[in-house]
């Protein structure tokens, strides 16, 4: 029992790596259920008008969150392009946001979409909550985009003066959307949803329940569900089998650790026989 309690952690790490790798290489194909919060985002975008609606994406995540943060915006952008809806990206929460947007844009441009006409990247604006409010009041307060084009001259920005000219705003972040809710959603009544990492989902549920946030996408599982809704399985769906196995192995570790703990505790409590 003592040996079990003191096993080398590297063995645990290797077991974890093996358990996660096998389903990635040999997918099982376990069916998924769609959560209402993810479906809400899908329904909002399905209800938009490609002729006149423009969507604002606030890209506030960095590469540190890995695919947990990256798959959601990729899935949503894929849906927007599928429907022919134009979008603008801007970053307030992190200096890495514009580079994350550039990754998505690089792939879209390779597929023939036009920068400036179908989408644009306005870069990073310092000031966090203050910058959100300034942008909401005057979207042309951002003088140029990341490619040096004047914001007012971009075809996709025509007719956009304030945040209310956007049909839908969605923030992709690694935390909670408080700065948007406080500065834009409640004072100005904008249609807003959020995509975040799995870790932050429980903290956002009160905002979803109160109607301040109309939809929530939380990490890889939400992205996988979204890809299924769009009929375009991607990286999110590819990871779900391995995610399942990962959950099972963690539960196994917890159970094993507790069994060992209780048995060694019982061993210490039982007095030695004379």
């Amino acid at each position: 029992m003592e040996k079990m309690q003191n096993v080398d952690t590297r063995i645990i790490y290797i077991v974890l790596l093996i358990v996660l790798s096998v389903p990635l290489l040999r997918p099982i194909g376990i069916p998924m259920q769609i959560s209402p919060m993810t479906r809400a985002v899908y329904d909002i975008i399905e209800g938009l008008n490609p002729e006149k609606d423009v969507v604002l994406l606030s890209m506030d995540y960095s590469p540190g969150a890995g695919l947990d943060a990256e798959v959601c915006p990729v899935a949503v952008v894929e849906h927007l392009m599928q429907r022919g809806i134009k979008w603008i990206a801007i970053s307030f929460g992190t200096t890495d946001g514009p580079m994350m947007t550039n990754r998505i844009i690089a792939d879209l441009e390779q597929r023939g979409y036009k920068y400036g006409e179908d989408f644009a990247n306005l870069g990073y604006m310092a000031g966090e909550e203050n910058a959100v409010r300034l942008f909401a009041l005057d979207c042309l307060s951002v003088p140029t985009d990341v490619r040096g084009n004047k914001t007012s001259e971009l075809p996709v920005m025509q007719g956009i003066k304030t945040i209310k000219d956007f049909a839908f705003v969605i923030q992709f972040s690694m935390g909670t959307p408080e700065m948007w809710i406080r500065q834009v959603v409640d004072p100005m009544g904008v249609l807003f949803a959020t995509g975040t990492v799995t870790v932050s989902v429980p903290s956002i549920v009160p905002y979803y329940n109160s109607g301040q946030v109309k939809g929530v996408m939380g990490g890889v599982s939400s992205a996988a569900q979204y890809e299924l809704l769009c009929n375009k399985p991607g990286r999110g769906a590819a990871m779900m089998d391995a995610q399942s196995m990962g959950h099972l192995i963690i539960i196994f570790f917890i159970a094993l650790g507790n069994i060992g703990y209780f048995m060694s505790k019982k061993g210490k409590e039982t007095p030695p026989s004379k």
Binding site: I12, P31, P63, G64, A65, T95, I250, F253, Y261
Partner: protein, 217 residues
């Protein structure tokens, strides 16, 4: 003087939300004062503040190198990388029309900085696994409740849970929507009340720790 700056600016920002008419002495309304002056000033000052940590880093590691402290070679590597990335990124920001430079910067960002950052964060999964085995013990009833909720959420969130028992996703959704939502809402309200009080104290100059004066009066 700094306390006066904090008071005046915070009052202007606060009142800019609820007033519309021009202020008698200034002749401009508070919303216009905020939108035209205070807010753009905040953007610029925040941008200067972004570099503060990096400048501090440069000073600390320069000291390590000049005094040849232990592991000064690593400080040299850090500074060299900082200068390369700083110079390259600055050039790209100031010359956005140069597509070649932007493409090259994307390469070093996507294939060096990004995997380093993600690799670092991925280590947390290893630590969660070892913590699950070694540290998460049901020592008392409260810890048991915590562990059981966590296990139910993990089983419900992953597709395999619905294969084991079809009710797991429903239980997970209920746990998220009712008890979790209630607890999170209470914590949110409590934290908001706390931050409101802290902001009021800062505005009135009772709290001065942000100015390095130390403690409150």
């Amino acid at each position: 003087m700094p306390l006066l700056i904090t008071l005046v600016i915070s009052v202007i920002v606060m009142l800019s939300r609820i007033t519309t008419g021009p202020v008698p002495v200034i002749g401009i309304s508070l919303p216009e004062l905020f939108e035209g002056y205070i807010s753009p000033w905040m953007t610029v000052v925040s941008a200067f503040a972004l570099c503060l940590a990096s400048v501090n880093l440069i000073m600390v590691h320069s000291g390590n190198i000049s005094r040849k402290r232990q592991d000064w070679v690593y400080s040299l590597i850090l500074l060299a990388t900082l200068i390369i990335y700083g110079a390259f990124c600055t050039y790209v920001e100031l010359n956005p029309n140069n597509e070649t430079a932007a493409a090259n910067y994307s390469l070093i960002y996507n294939y060096i900085l990004s995997p380093l950052m993600t690799g670092q964060w991925a280590c947390l999964a290893f630590y969660v696994a070892s913590a699950s085995y070694r540290a998460f013990r049901a020592r008392n009833l409260e810890a048991t409740v915590l562990l059981i909720s966590a296990i139910l959420v993990m089983l419900g969130a992953a597709p395999v849970g619905s294969l084991i028992w079809s009710r797991f996703p429903t239980i997970q959704q209920w746990l998220l929507d009712v008890p979790n939502m209630t607890g999170q809402r209470a914590l949110l309200i409590g934290a908001a009340i706390g931050s409101f009080v802290a902001c009021l104290r800062t505005m009135l100059g009772i709290e001065r720790s942000h100015l390095g004066i130390g403690g409150s009066s």
